[in-house]
Symmetry: C2
Subunit: 466 residues, 2 copies
């Protein structure tokens, strides 16, 4: 029996797509298509439930077929790009069993839940699920857990993993296992939960999770500062950290990003003088959240410290304006892609006080390798999205961008930084961890992989440490 028929016999023909059929195309790439990456697969399996995921996994493991787990397909590192002959296991139909237990500040979330939907459903009940990756409108919680996704508000609230108290995961050779659950603390065993979170589907497939919630803050207000130089922007970031306010988010965007995203900024910040948006070299957004009174005071403090060295400070207070600003912030990435018809989007982390230096180096590398660059990111966390803007059909340009990115990773790791803050390694950053970790840790990385996946069938070729 053909592979597709075998899988159909397990989970139903309506849940299996032949890899060479036209509907399969939507499952062969992710956001790395902006850098011309996509793959091929023998079949796409879209089980309705965790048991279906388990069955397909068990079948693949028994038949030595590679398994490529897939969430919402919004990754930037090719983690969900399938390899020839593999079976993609998408969790998008795992949507049954979203159960709120708000009295105990928690929720059970099936892996196919859209991030923004979880946030909205929580908010309706007076609760807050903080992680807010830029792709939240399409990303799935399963993918968020597999990549340990971040976002602007993880500065105050921590990344996805900070909110997971229990994991439901299919492990090799095809077993559905629960680690943790409703409990908020647990030091009984080694922290296999954290080991699985961020493992990009190379150790197992997340089918669901118990997650923590907190009461929704009453209010949240951003303050936007426009600065004439990268150095002035860096100073503003450090001034915010020294202000005594513990902001929910501290973001930045450089001039090149502003230029790419400018057409949509007008709507986001109505009434802002074009001479400011047109000339600012560095923009900082800091947001205070909490009770209304507290936010009002923190906002005043932020305005005061952010005025130092600023060309302008904009502090929207109307709900619609605030929403528009964050919505604009979320689409910056797509606006930048649109500019050149593609981009090589890197995602590095440096100590927060070295953002300006790093941004300058990104631009220098871009100039030297003849690739336009722009940077934005989660300033408070030192997490920079360094973008090399290249049309995806420009092979030579892509090669130059890859060289520039490699030099960037060398610099970042030389100052104690990390090669990925939230996008993961996938295929585009394979071997880059070797710049960052000592040899002994790289050995352990490989051995841990073998322990979980002795046949090497879970997302093969991804997240290779060296």
């Amino acid at each position: 029996m053909a592979l597709v028929d075998e899988l159909a016999a397990l989970i139903g023909s309506g849940n299996v797509i032949a890899g060479d059929s036209s509907p399969a195309r939507a499952y062969l790439g992710d956001e790395t298509e902006s850098r011309a990456l996509s793959g091929s697969a023998a079949a796409i399996a879209l089980p309705d439930d965790a048991e279906g995921v388990r069955q397909v996994t068990a079948w693949c493991y028994a038949h030595d077929v590679a398994i490529v787990p897939r969430g919402g397909g919004s990754g930037f590192s090719g983690g969900a790009v399938p390899s020839e002959g593999s079976v993609v296991i998408g969790v998008e139909r795992l949507t049954q069993g979203l159960e709120f237990e708000t009295g105990s500040w928690r929720v059970h979330v099936p892996a196919g839940t859209i991030t923004a939907a979880l946030r909205e459903q929580a908010r309706k009940r007076g609760f807050y699920y903080p992680p807010d990756p830029g792709s939240q409108a399409v990303s799935l919680i399963g993918g968020n857990i597999a990549t340990n996704a971040g976002g602007p508000h993880t500065f105050k609230y921590g990344v996805t993993g900070s909110w997971v108290s229990g994991l439901e995961v299919v492990l090799a050779p095809g077993e559905l296992v629960q680690i943790g659950g409703r409990v908020r603390k647990d030091v009984g065993g080694y922290d296999l939960r954290s080991l699985l979170i961020g493992s990009e589907g190379t150790l197992g497939i997340v089918t669901g999770a118990w997650m923590k919630l907190i009461p929704a803050p009453e209010a949240a207000l951003p303050v936007v500062g426009f600065y004439p130089s990268t150095e002035a922007g860096q100073a503003a970031i450090l001034n915010v950290l020294a202000s005594g306010v513990a902001p929910a988010a501290v973001e930045f965007l450089d001039a090149e990003t502003m230029e790419a995203a400018l057409p949509t900024l007008g709507e986001a910040i109505p009434g802002l003088p074009p001479e400011v948006t047109g000339t600012a070299t560095f923009v900082v957004i800091a947001e205070a959240d909490g009770s209304s009174d507290q936010v009002a005071r923190d906002r005043e403090d932020l305005i005061a410290v952010m005025q130092a060295g600023a060309q302008a400070v904009h502090a929207p207070a109307k709900r619609a304006e605030v929403s528009a600003l964050w919505l604009w912030r979320d689409v910056v990435s797509r606006a930048v892609t649109a500019r050149e018809g593609g981009k090589v989007s890197e995602d590095i982390v440096v100590p927060v006080e070295r953002i300006a230096e790093t941004v300058r180096i990104v631009h220098e590398l871009g100039a030297r390798h003849r690739v336009p660059t722009c940077n934005w990111g989660h300033a408070g966390d030192g997490n920079i999205h360094a973008n090399f803007m290249v049309n995806r059909n420009d092979e030579a340009g892509l090669a130059r961008a890859a060289e520039a990115a490699h030099e960037l990773f060398e610099f970042v790791t030389s100052i104690g930084g990390a090669v990925s803050g939230e996008h993961g390694i996938g295929i585009v950053k394979n071997h880059m961890l070797a710049l960052q970790w000592p040899s002994r840790a790289l050995d352990l990385h490989a051995q841990v992989k073998r322990v979980f996946d002795p046949k090497g069938l879970f997302n093969p070729g991804k997240k290779l440490a060296r």
Copy 2:
């Protein structure tokens, strides 16, 4: 050359104590001496620096000698109790290199730093290091990381691991490795950092860490509610969670704990009518923190919700009164030990809404096995310190307590709870994880141990999953 001389040649004779000498005695037990546990060792090594830890580890690994890492010796699970012929490696002299970088909200902490000293040093600089285990006056950060220690304020702020951004650790066969560092986010590799945190010295020895800080909250005020029944206390806990306030801590103590700790409570809560402290069955402490205004409002909200069903609500506002209350809370554990001259202190986690049920079962088990019981703990996290009070010389009593504890673990795991929230497994809870985890996860636990420690020399016999 004798083992002690070999070690002295490596790290200096002033840093090595012969296992059979009288000064060694201070290193052969931990708080499990209250249940009559202590061990023996060939030698105690107290290196001055991480390189010394590395040298001793390498020597032991090469000579097949077991290594027992030791922090402040305040553990409750025997994790630091050495086995015959082993070398204890204490990190108490690793105190050089406490370096604050408050402008970037972080600090480098050598493993020998006392927890309370780190908290105090941070506070002097206007910053806050939240984890506050009851033993903070003597526990060391190295031990806190090895056990992933908690405390009252981890309800809002997370356990020790939440604050570690980089680990310096000696791994087999004797290599000093750094994983992470100053960066606040990192998803490049598998999360080996989290795997090491809470591994109780069975995977490596922590010599230092980069840790995160936050600006110190301006104020913190507790509200204490006294309730006539366990059920009324449970309702109060859930009322606090439903209040919209996000408290920094939610603690509880039962009547039996109050009785044991009563002699010191009068000083902690001056002016409190004895008819209340003498009759309350269940006490809840909730603390609000933040700006002064915010805390004042949250305190009013907490008082309002905690009055429902209460015999009395006490809300100290003077700094000295608040300090006295938390100091009293920290010494409850010792007060309870004093009552019977020993205790079997367990440390379980249940879903927060099942605290009352669990407390009732602890008392039932105590009655059935003829051991006095008392419970207190971190209510918000569902983390109960269930204590079976037995004199440490009463062998039959200790055996009955062990039976009662085992039945308690069976109950706890049957409702999705955890066998340890902050004390770890050590030797006293070996094999208890098998009640909680599926077989596949237990296999992985054993395999991960082999990957890190192929010779099985790191803290052998501790944290056994089954």
